[in-house]
C-alpha cells in the first residue's frame, strides 16, 4: 500500500511503499535472524557435511571443509546482517570453501589442462568430440543431483527433530549401528529405542510431506 510521507529534511513529499498490508508493521520491526555459534555443530554439521561430501566426494576433506566453514563463520560473524537464516549463511561460506579447495588442488598448471583421448580403452587417435557428448537419455546425472537434494531435504528434517531422537535415528539409519550397540552407548533399553525410532520416523514422514513431495 503506497503511503505519502512528508520528508522534513528534504522538504519534499515522497511516495513510500510500506509493507503495512502484508506484515501489519514496518519492516524494521521484523525479527532478524541471529547467530548462535555454540549450537552450530549440533544443528548444521550433518547438513553441511552432506553438502560437502556431494562436492568433494571424500569424507575427510569434507569434514575439514565443514570445520573451516565454522571457523570462517565465527570470524566474520560481525558481517552477518541477519536477513538470511543461519543455515543459508553457512552454506554460502561452505560453497566458497569448496571452490577454494578445488583451486588449491588445481594450482599446478598441468592439472587444469583437459586431456581427452578419442577413447580411453582403445589406442585409436582422433578428436571426434561429438562422440564425447553426454548421452541425453542417460538419467544418471539427473538422479545424482536429485538424490543430493533429497539428502539435504532429509537432513533438514532430521535437524528439526529433538536431539535424542535425531541421534538415535542417525545412528540406526545412516551409520547402520546394531540395536545393542546403540543401547549400550546411550544407556537406554531396546523398547525405549524403538519408541524413539518410531517417533522420529513419523515426524520425518510428516516433515518430508511438507517440504519434499507427497510421501
Amino acid at each position: 500500500m503506497p503511503a505519502i510521507k512528508y520528508d522534513y529534511k528534504n522538504k519534499s513529499m515522497k511516495l513510500i511503499k510500506t509493507n503495512s498490508l502484508i506484515f501489519g508493521n514496518d519492516e524494521k520491526q521484523m525479527p532478524l535472524n541471529k547467530l548462535h555459534p555454540n549450537t552450530w555443530v549440533d544443528a548444521y554439521a550433518d547438513y553441511l557435511f552432506n553438502y560437502a561430501v556431494g562436492r568433494v566426494s571424500d569424507a575427510e576433506i569434507a569434514r575439514d571443509l565443514v570445520q573451516e566453514t565454522f571457523f570462517a563463520g565465527l570470524k566474520s560473524a560481525k558481517n552477518y546482517k541477519g536477513d538470511a537464516t543461519e543455515r543459508t549463511w553457512l552454506i554460502a561460506i561452505l560453497k566458497r570453501k569448496v571452490i577454494d579447495h578445488y583451486r588449491k588442488i588445481n594450482s599446478k598448471k598441468g592439472k587444469a589442462e583437459v586431456r581427452m583421448n578419442y577413447s580411453a580403452s582403445s589406442d585409436s587417435e582422433g578428436d571426434w568430440l561429438e562422440e564425447q557428448v553426454a548421452d541425453p537419455f542417460s538419467s544418471f546425472e539427473n538422479d545424482a543431483i536429485e538424490n543430493e537434494e533429497l539428502g539435504l531435504a532429509i537432513h533438514g528434517c532430521i535437524s528439526k527433530l529433538p536431539k535424542k531422537q535425531s541421534m538415535v535415528f542417525k545412528m540406526k539409519t545412516i551409520q547402520g549401528m546394531s540395536t545393542e550397540d546403540i543401547c549400550n552407548e546411550l544407556n537406554i533399553n531396546p523398547s525405549n529405542l524403538w519408541v524413539m525410532i518410531h517417533r522420529a520416523r513419523t515426524a520425518l514422514v510428516g516433515c518430508l510431506n511438507q517440504n519434499w513431495f507427497e510421501l
Binding site: W40, F49, Q67, G151, H155, T173, R201
Partner: protein
C-alpha cells in the same frame, strides 16, 4: 491379535530387517484388519527407500564433539 502400537514397533523393526518371522506374521495379520496401520507401513517403507536412495552421510558423535571442542576454543 496385537495392538496398533505393537504393530508400529514391528513395522519399524522390519525397516531395519530386525523383525523375527513370528513378528512379521503377526504384523501381516494386523495389517489385514487395520487400515491406518497399512497406510503407515506403506509410508514407512517409502521413507526407508528414499533414505537409501539419498545415500545419507553423517558425522559420528566423536567427530562432532572434536569439532565442537575446536570451535569452543575459538569462541
Amino acid at each position: 491379535m496385537i495392538s496398533c502400537e505393537k504393530a508400529a514397533i514391528i513395522c519399524n523393526k522390519a525397516q531395519y530387517s530386525e523383525a523375527s518371522f513370528i513378528e512379521k506374521l503377526k504384523l501381516k495379520f494386523h495389517l489385514l484388519t487395520c487400515k491406518a496401520c497399512s497406510k503407515f507401513t506403506k509410508k514407512n517403507a517409502q521413507l526407508t527407500t528414499i533414505c537409501d536412495k539419498a545415500k545419507l552421510q553423517s558425522l559420528t558423535e566423536i567427530e562432532k564433539s572434536a569439532m565442537k571442542a575446536k570451535l569452543d576454543k575459538e569462541i
